[in-house]
């Protein structure tokens, strides 16, 4: 049984088709990185999964049940864009209200637990309106964690978090899925961060799922390249550009050769042309570059 199984999902806003024929499968125990450009239909899909907007067609099943069933809905934790909190109330009050809505027994104990999980226990008495963006995101995630959900749907949860906040979130995510029954769908533009935790990926474009893969499949799909530094970078780039089809300089100041080659071959070639290589290594492109390449292919 999968946590989420979506078939042929579509959503129209008037004449505009935001999602068209989308299929999506999120296995149990997965951290599913949901990736796409702005306006690709990620948030619309997530809102449909969460029951915030009705579908125009297709089916959504959560743990094999219809997504509108109260029994399943009660076990879905959500953070869409920003948490729905009353600004004039404290973090604690907002959490307690959500616990009340979820009919959680021992609400106080549960709220303390989730606030501790996101390291917000010290700020429980703060008014929500006085919280920083990062704190608000943590409150949102704490709210989503209330009631021991089996599925978390998080839209851009990493926005506004500092390095420590991101580390905490990674810990939270891995902790949530460790028993193998709970799953997380997380969309983010911070692909580097996403890659550190995601076990599965779904890439959406123009409302259609263009690729779904596991982290292992992504790893296998990512091309290797040779990165080097030399005493004469400009001349090296020119020379390598004459021999290889794709040579680029990266942000760290390395020259990257993406063609099928070896470091030995490059060192020899540059040495024959009077250039001494000071550093050379082979590496793989990450999710971010893979995604950018995929988008370029589509265009």
């Amino acid at each position: 049984m999968n946590a989420i199984e979506i078939k042929n999902l579509s959503k129209n806003f008037g004449p505009k088709q935001a999602v068209c024929g989308l299929d999506m499968t999120v296995p149990m125990g997965a951290i599913y990185g949901f990736i796409g450009e702005n306006g690709s239909g990620k948030s619309t899909t997530e809102k449909m999964i969460c029951g915030l907007i009705p579908t125009s067609g297709g089916s959504i099943k959560l743990y094999g049940k219809d997504y509108t069933e109260g029994a399943v809905r009660a076990r879905v934790g959500v953070l869409i864009e920003s948490p729905g909190c009353f600004p004039g109330l404290t973090v604690w009050d907002n959490m307690m209200l959500q616990a009340e809505n979820l009919s959680i027994p021992n609400a106080e104990k549960e709220v303390v637990k989730v606030l501790k999980t996101v390291r917000m226990e010290g700020a429980a008495g703060n008014k929500y309106q006085n919280c920083s963006l990062g704190m608000k995101q943590r409150v949102g995630i704490a709210m989503a964690l209330l009631g021991n959900p089996t599925l978390l749907v998080l839209d851009e949860p990493l926005n506004g978090l500092d390095a420590d906040g991101m580390r905490i979130m990674r810990e939270v995510f891995t902790d949530v899925v460790k028993d193998g029954t709970r799953s997380i769908v997380v969309s983010s533009h911070l692909l580097g961060e996403l890659q550190k935790v995601a076990t599965h990926y779904g890439i959406i474009r123009h409302g259609k799922m263009i690729r779904e893969m596991t982290a292992a499949e992504l790893d296998a799909s990512c091309r290797t390249y040779v990165a080097l530094q030399s005493g004469e970078m400009n001349r090296s780039k020119m020379l390598l550009g004459c021999k290889y089809s794709r040579v680029e300089e990266d942000e760290a100041g390395y020259l990257r050769v993406y063609d099928m080659t070896t470091p030995e071959e490059i060192v020899t070639y540059l040495y024959e042309n009077g250039i001494c290589v000071t550093e050379i290594k082979t590496d793989k492109i990450g999710l971010e570059e893979y995604y950018i390449d995929l988008m370029k292919e589509g265009k």
């Binding site: 809102k47 915030l52 907007i53 109260g70 920003s82 729905g84 909190c85 009050d93 009919s103 029954t181």
Partner: protein, 278 residues
């Protein structure tokens, strides 16, 4: 290790209890509620004690009311308002209440609370019912402060206090009961205009003042429809609860209020189910 998942559906009462808990907590923790309770007390006191109108000759000004209880209810059931004194009574609570409900529900949407709510097991009908009950409670409370304010104002000025006590009590209870019907109407209007806060308030105001309904009344007046029928349906029988009320009037108020609530909650639920929540 994989453990078995259990999915338990919360009962209707569990869901409603949770939602009512949240809404009542919000109501009692928002200054808005207390401000409107104050408004509901001050306005009738001021209207009762300070409003002057020209007499029939138009030469001298005289008080609008002569009896303390005229500010509470009209002397008889009237679907069409004949004079300003018939108009300015406890029905004003439904204007204040309409504005309060608009702000209360508008805040649900502005804060994102509704978004958070409907991602859980909450049903649309629970939301409509919870809002209706809480807002009706708020309006019923306003009826009480209105009664206190209006009575004190009238007594201070020294108006006549003669009244049929049973009818007065039944009129007040009738209007309090009608709070439920009005709250359901306002909740429905605010669900329709949920994305347009200003229009929500304006629509509540127009319906609350009865401006639209009075317009309809003027049209249907020529259709020879029996007056009791119009009293019941045109203004939700709020005008039916007058100083000439009896048990029958009160029962009519209950029936109409429940009917309004069922109708508007049904329509609101349908609308919320068919449209984007957020």
């Amino acid at each position: 290790m994989t453990r078995e998942l259990k999915f338990e559906s919360p009962t209707f009462l569990q869901r409603l209890k949770g939602m009512l808990g949240v809404d009542f907590y919000r109501l009692f923790h928002t200054p808005l509620f207390y401000i409107f309770l104050g408004i509901a007390a001050i306005i009738p006191a001021m209207v009762s004690a300070m409003t002057m109108m020209p007499d029939q000759s138009g030469n001298t000004m005289e008080p609008l009311y002569s009896n303390v209880w005229q500010i509470i209810a009209a002397s008889e059931s009237l679907y069409v308002i004949n004079g300003i004194a018939d108009y300015a009574n406890m029905n004003m609570v439904f204007i204040f209440g309409g504005i309060m409900v608009s702000i209360f529900i508008g805040h649900d949407y502005k804060s994102g609370y509704v978004k958070q709510l409907f991602t859980t097991h909450a049903k649309k009908q629970d939301y409509m019912m919870s809002k209706t009950i809480v807002c009706a409670f708020a309006m019923a409370c306003m009826c009480i402060t209105y009664f206190i304010g209006g009575t004190v104002g009238g007594l201070l000025v020294g108006y006549d206090t003669a009244v049929n006590v049973n009818s007065l009590i039944l009129a007040i209870l009738g209007k309090m009961v009608m709070s439920l019907g009005w709250a359901s109407l306002y909740t429905f209007l605010n669900v329709i205009f949920r994305k347009y806060f200003g229009i929500s308030i304006a629509s509540s105001f127009f319906f609350g003042t009865g401006i639209l309904i009075i317009g309809v009344a003027a049209i249907v007046e020529n259709l020879s429809i029996p007056t009791p029928f119009l009293n019941i349906f045109l203004y939700g029988s709020s005008v039916n609860a007058s100083l000439a009320s009896n048990v029958g009037t009160f029962l009519v108020c209950i029936v109409v209020s429940v009917a309004w609530t069922l109708i508007y909650n049904f329509l609101g639920t349908k609308l919320l189910s068919k449209s984007d929540v957020y």
